[in-house]
Amino acid sequence: MEPVWLQQERESARKAHAGLQWPNFRYGLTMRMDYSDLPPELVEACVSQQTTQQTTIECADESVIIMPLKEAIEKHSKLVEPYLFKIMAMPNKFAEFHRAFWSSGTFVYIPAQVELESPIVIRKSLAGSNINHTLIVADDASAATIIEIADGQQNGPLFVSNATEIIAKANSSIRFISTQNYPQNIFHFDYKNAEIDQDAQVHWHDCCLGSAFTHSTIHSLLNGIGSESTIKNMFLGSNQQRFDIGAQIVHGASHTHGNIETKGILMDSAKNMYRGLIRIERDAPNSKGYQKEDVLMLSPETEANSIPQLEIENNDVKCSHAATTTHVDKERLFYLMARGISETTARKLFVRGFIEPFIQQLGSPVTAFIEDHIEQRLV
């Protein structure tokens, strides 16, 4: 039996979900991410047919509380209740669905002053349709790197919803590195949220590699003076893959820094939609925001859409953004091939050059994993 507060939480989410229309993922005046191949029944089926993801956790430090979310609700209710679902952006049909019907997840609590030397590694493997929730609470002046590796062999089509909430208290510092490599018949919805207190930092590194359709939004709220967040993400699409990727940083306090850097590689008929947002609120003077998106289109059938948006309500700020779309042009290929390199290798080198700066920031073991992955995917 779940505690009353959680039952109420689920009930209110159920109602909100029922009252909302299915989104059409239309952006701007003419852009649209097509997910019509996801039948609503497949989503609704998730209510009764969830299979918990196989989860293994590596954590060297014993002062950290890390356990399945349901267990944490029983054992550490006081640590979970104040934070669970408090920072997810609502209303949103899919996020409300997630809040109402989640069935498994992980809770991580890093006590005050604890600085982890080695990263916490969470490995999740799909075993069926699932709604999985991760809640991370970093207490005052704690520091940790958390790596989340999600994959699976399951045959689809399946609906999978993941969400991560990070509460970063004053002076804490969290690096969250995630990779998702589901089979290309999974419909993946992913919401990552962070609320960042005074002088705290949250750095996201996210790699979207798998799934048929990904709708993902990473959202950082800089709530405390001097807080900082970076969102560095990449996506690699082949075949018919579609990525609807959002990266948003909201500056709600003064002296805050935000940085968004997105790299995308599209092959075959893959498509992407990038929604970037830097929002600097009136109460956030002396803030700095930067946003950059680069997409490399490797095949004529690919499609790259983007809306890198700025909303600035305070003039005492520095803010800029940039976006580029490029391709491997013939001269550059020719240059390499003239030096005896085969066309395939030349293309790979070009892609490596494009993505390398991003990959190197991930650190081991993720850097090696992504390098190998890209090597295999590029033919």
């Binding site: 952006y27 701007g28 005046l29 003419t30 852009m31 599209l266 009136r282 003077p285 997409v295 289109m297 490797l298 095949s299 004529p300 059938e301 690919t302 499609e303 790259a304 859409n305 983007s306 809306i307 890198p308 948006q309 700025l310 909303e311 600035i312 309500e313 305070n314 003039n315 005492d316 700020v317 520095k318 803010c319 800029s320 953004h321 940039a322 976006a323 580029t324 779309t325 490029t326 391709h327």
Partner: protein, 477 residues
């Protein structure tokens, strides 16, 4: 050396006289015909009958009106809920002869208005042709004889409909801006009046600019002038448009429509400096279709209006077509400038550059809303978008919303945007050289918009500088 330069600039800043009277002077409105407030089918019929239009135009107007009635007011942009379309006067014919070809034929007060705005003088000195619209009617329209001989047509749109029905029927609100385009294009289609029709025959290069000035004088009036420019193969034309209205307590509405056809190898430059009053809703449509190797250049200044919604659009339809957009928007207290540019690359080897500068002051809001689209079959396109926003006060607001839709992998696209304020160091530097804070600020703003201003014809550059200076007055302290 640096100091010499600066002295020059200071003098320039100081010698630009600030003369609000020029714009805000009101004449007593005298109409010979008006449809009164509000819009009904009868109003649409009355406008058409008044102009003695052919049946097809009446039917087109009625169709547009029907669509207008069915379509809700758009809600994706600025707040239009305070715009009461029933309080607008949709047609008002001033008490003046239409299409005069000599300024003496105009009533004295109207003539003085245009003299104050410097139009007859500009015509004498620099222009190939001039048209001026007052309320709903074109009161003066003249093309210099030499251009008429070369086959250039420069007419009031109402006259062009009568004189060149075939051209008109082919191009008027058909492929470029169809009457079904959006709510205010529908309204325009229903009640349009006046404006300019330009046809440049193949190979003719009009070396001096053609100019139109649109003046609203009466409170509560709407102006719906139509501009139709056709540059035939290899032709060139430079068109300049200005507009203004004195400030009233009631709301004015401007829903103009500009359609430009740039045929193969032709080049059209469209300059516009808009200075409607701060109680005007400027909901305007401008679009160009550019054929093979043609070039469209937009230079767009938005200074006035309470709310502006204007996104000049270039449709690059032929191979090698090119679009060049320069825009500047200034929003001070109570204003929302929602502007931008749309470029649609439909053909291969098309290129576009978009540069936008915006300044927001006090609680003014500037929004850059852009669209860049590269179609699937358009190979090797290049596009560059750059927008910079300057925010002068703490309450200012600036949004940047560029949408990019790239369906061809051989495209090279780059987009950049910056938002910032005037740095304390910059101000200090100038003030330590003896400038007042206000002068220093003006100079920095002038520097910020310089790349745009220098592209404008001289008198408009001066005008824009003056306008910005007016706006900057009292921005310090």
């Amino acid at each position: 050396m640096g100091e010499d330069k600066m002295d020059g600039s200071v003098q320039q800043v100081q010698t630009i006289e600030i003369d609000r009277e020029r714009i805000d002077h009101k004449n007593e409105p005298r109409f010979t015909k008006t449809t009164g407030e509000g819009i009904t089918e009868d109003v649409v019929r009355a406008i058409s009958a008044e102009k003695n239009e052919p049946e097809w135009m009446l039917q087109k107007r009625l169709k547009a009106f029907e669509l207008f009635n069915k379509t809700p007011i758009p809600t994706w942009g600025p707040d239009l809920s305070k715009l009461n379309l029933n309080k607008i006067v949709y047609y008002a014919k001033p008490d003046a002869k239409e299409n005069a070809t000599s300024w003496e034929e105009l009533p004295a007060d109207i003539r003085r208005t245009f003299e104050r705005l410097g139009i007859p003088e500009a015509e004498r000195n620099a222009l190939a042709g001039t048209g001026t619209q007052y309320e709903s009617s074109v009161v003066y329209h003249k093309l210099k004889e030499e251009w008429g001989k070369k086959g250039v047509i420069f007419e009031n749109c109402d006259v062009a409909l009568q004189k060149h029905p075939e051209l008109f029927k082919k191009y008027f609100m058909t492929n470029c801006v169809p009457i079904s385009d959006h709510k205010f294009a529908m309204l325009h289609g229903a009640v349009w009046s006046g404006g300019t029709f330009i046809y440049i025959p193949p190979g003719v290069k009009v070396t001096a600019p053609l100019q139109a000035y649109f003046r609203m004088n009466a409170p509560g009036l709407g102006q719906f002038e139509h501009t139709l420019i056709i540059a035939d193969k290899g032709a060139e034309v430079n068109y300049v448009e200005g507009c203004s209205i004195p400030l009233y307590d009631s709301t004015n509405l401007h829903a103009g429509c500009v359609e430009i056809y740039v045929h193969e190898g032709a080049r059209v430059r469209y300059n516009s400096v808009e200075n409607w009053s701060k109680r005007t809703y400027n909901l305007n449509t401008k679009r160009a279709i550019v054929e093979k190797n043609g070039t469209i250049e937009w230079i767009n200044g938005n200074n006035g209006s309470q709310i502006t919604m204007l996104y000049p659009c270039s449709i690059l339809k032929g191979e090698g077509a090119k679009s060049d957009f320069l825009g500047i928007a200034f929003a001070s207290a109570g204003q929302h400038q929602d502007t931008g540019a749309k470029v649609i690359h439909l053909a291969s080897h098309t290129t576009s550059t978009t540069r936008s500068k915006s300044i927001s002051k006090e609680n003014g809001i500037t929004t850059f809303r852009g669209l860049l689209k590269v179609a699937k079959d358009a190979h090797h396109c290049k596009a560059n978008i750059q927008c910079d926003a300057l925010m002068l006060n703490e309450e200012s607001k600036s949004d940047t919303i560029p949408c990019m839709e790239i369906k061809n992998s051989s495209a090279d696209i780059a987009h950049e945007a910056t938002v910032g304020k005037i740095g304390a160091e910059q101000l200090f530097y100038l003030m330590s050289r003896g400038l007042s804070a206000e002068q220093a600020m003006q100079m920095i703003v002038s520097g910020f918009i310089e790349p745009i201003v220098k592209e404008l014809p001289l008198e408009y550059a001066v005008e824009l500088n003056k306008l910005i200076q007016l706006e900057m007055e009292g921005s310090v302290g």
